[in-house]
């Protein structure tokens, strides 16, 4: 029996004063958290911190004792759980593919229950398998036990995407994989994430994974939410020792004082360079071809500033020259300290700065990449 689509897209998920008790112990205690539509929010914390309980309350696998959870303003407790769950994808660590069903039957199970006919289901399954890099012809008729762990995890993801849900809940999906495979799947997952542009809530206990994948990270400990913010918030402004401990600031970042911008900068790729005398319309074309969203504008080798696709599109009608609309950007010297540079960038809300030696451009400093190099 088909269930109604509850939400085409996610605007927000609000957890308001949510608590869950087991016996006399809080699993989650008065949690307030807003997940924004389209973001990948990481829930991280040691085991028993309440991160998984929080995730499971979103699809009502666990029901809160008090507080409310609103998706696009609708209280999940007022929705039929079966219908609610069919409107979101769910991926867990031990995958849980049904051993008695083929890959096609596993991925197509919910579409079938939703009343799709065989052709449509098969087509969807083939598309999804392809999407998660499993050649459909080779895998569609196999049983889960004939697949490796990584392949099973991909099928698990395909199953979660079967109904094209706007929300994905992922409970340590890569936790059981060996480190190299985990890295690879994370990389692939980032690609997939870009393509599908959904809201994702992702539980992990691996801070490195959190930094790689998360737009924002919510740190939990002992049933409470300690802090939520972008990776650099947690690193540079942990609210307390516990957060610092969990993001491992002390160990991983204590050597940052000794590092210079030179050590962590990225060489300037020519694909990011635009000449100042180009007009906006052409610049849009060039950037499309180069598949970039941001560019650096140079005028005869002299730095003018940076240019973002979104800004360019706004002024396409007037069609000015790019040198006139480029915005100034921060510049650091080779010997500047990385820690200072990053906190300065963070304060002014920039994710990218230039590194110069006098008048010569040496490279770029990109905050995300710096973090990835550090961890």
């Amino acid at each position: 029996m088909p269930t109604k689509i509850l939400f085409e897209r996610i605007d927000s998920i609000e957890l308001q004063g949510v608590s869950k008790k087991y016996g006399s112990r809080f699993a989650v205690e008065s949690l307030d958290l807003t997940i924004e539509g389209g973001e990948l929010l990481i829930l991280i914390g040691p085991s028993g911190s309440g991160k998984t309980t929080t995730l499971r309350m979103i699809n009502r696998m666990i029901e809160p004792d008090s507080g409310s959870i609103l998706i696009n303003g609708q209280n999940v407790m007022h929705l039929d759980p079966v219908r609610l769950r069919r409107n979101m994808g769910y991926v867990i660590q031990n995958i849980g593919l049904f051993p008695h069903m083929t890959i096609e039957e596993n991925v197509g199970l919910v579409p079938k229950l939703e009343g799709w006919d065989q052709n449509r289901t098969t087509e969807r399954v083939r598309y999804l398998l392809d999407f998660v890099s499993l050649p459909p012809d080779r895998f569609i008729n196999r049983y889960p036990r004939q697949l490796s762990g990584g392949q099973q995890q991909r099928v698990g993801l395909a199953r979660a995407l079967a109904m094209d849900p706007p929300l994905l809940l992922m409970d340590e999906p890569f936790g059981a994989l060996d480190p190299i495979l985990r890295k690879q799947l994370q990389k692939e997952f980032l690609e997939i994430k870009k393509e599908i542009g959904r809201t994702i809530v992702f539980v992990t206990h691996d801070i490195e994974e959190a930094f790689r994948l998360g737009d924002r990270i919510a740190v939990m400990d002992n049933a409470r939410l300690l802090q939520v913010g972008a990776p650099e918030d947690l690193i540079f402004e942990p609210v307390n020792e516990l957060v610092a401990d969990i993001v491992d600031t002390a160990r991983k970042f204590k050597h940052m004082d000794t590092l210079n911008v030179k050590d962590l900068m990225t060489p300037l790729d020519t694909k990011y360079i635009l000449e100042g005398d180009l007009d906006a319309c052409h610049a849009v074309e060039v950037m499309k071809d180069r598949n970039t969203e941001t560019c650096i504008v140079l005028d005869n080798g002299k730095l003018i500033g940076k240019l973002e696709m979104v800004n360019l599109l706004k002024c396409e009608e007037k069609n000015p020259l790019v040198r006139d609309i480029a915005k100034p950007m921060k510049v650091f010297a080779l010997r500047d300290s990385v820690a200072t540079a990053l906190s300065e960038m963070k304060r002014s809300g920039e994710y990218m700065a230039m590194v110069m030696n006098g008048d010569t451009i040496c490279g770029m400093l990109v905050s995300d990449e710096v973090l990835l190099k550090l961890i």
């Binding site: 867990i92 849980g96 049904f98 919910v110 979660a160």
Partner: protein, 218 residues
Amino acid sequence: MIEIIHRIIILWEKHLLTMRTIEHLEMFSIALTISVITGVSMGIIIYSHPKIASPVLNFLNILETIPDLALLVILLPLLRLGTGPTIAASVIYSLLPIARNTYAGLKAVDAQYVYVAEAIGLSPKDILFKVRIPLSLPLIAGGIRIALVFTMGVVTLGGLVAAGGLGTVLQNGIQLYEKDVIILAGLWTGILAVILDHGAGRIEKELYKRYGTWQPQR
């Protein structure tokens, strides 16, 4: 050798063994079909009402200890002579192994599969029919295999209460003290039972292999 085969053919025809075998298998199939339907349903019912599970299984356990001939005989006043009491007695014996194994199978399904099924939005009914029952099939098949042996035994006894089948041939053979008929019919009944049991065993093993959650127990 040829002479022996010749004698077997004559005996076979004289005692209508083809007809008796058909009668036998007919009773057997009817009884087993009823047993499977009621047994599996009963297993599902006591699974969904755990409070009555233990009393029901205990009661079936007691029925199981009753000597088969005595059970057959106390059904006579109710069901008259013939196939009626034979089939009824077969079903009564077969309920326990099928219901018990169904119940145990449904309970033994790995919790993670049920959890995932719930999480991806299967209703309780979907979970029962798409996950629990399929994953219990190997154990249910094991129960049906035991029931098959019981049913074969009771159906053979049916000859003693005028139900026809191979038991009738054995009964006549013993009463008339015709040794070669007894040997022929006895062996044939035994072989038939062993073949059916063996076939059921193969199916059971296949199910274990396909559903891959448990190893065959023997």
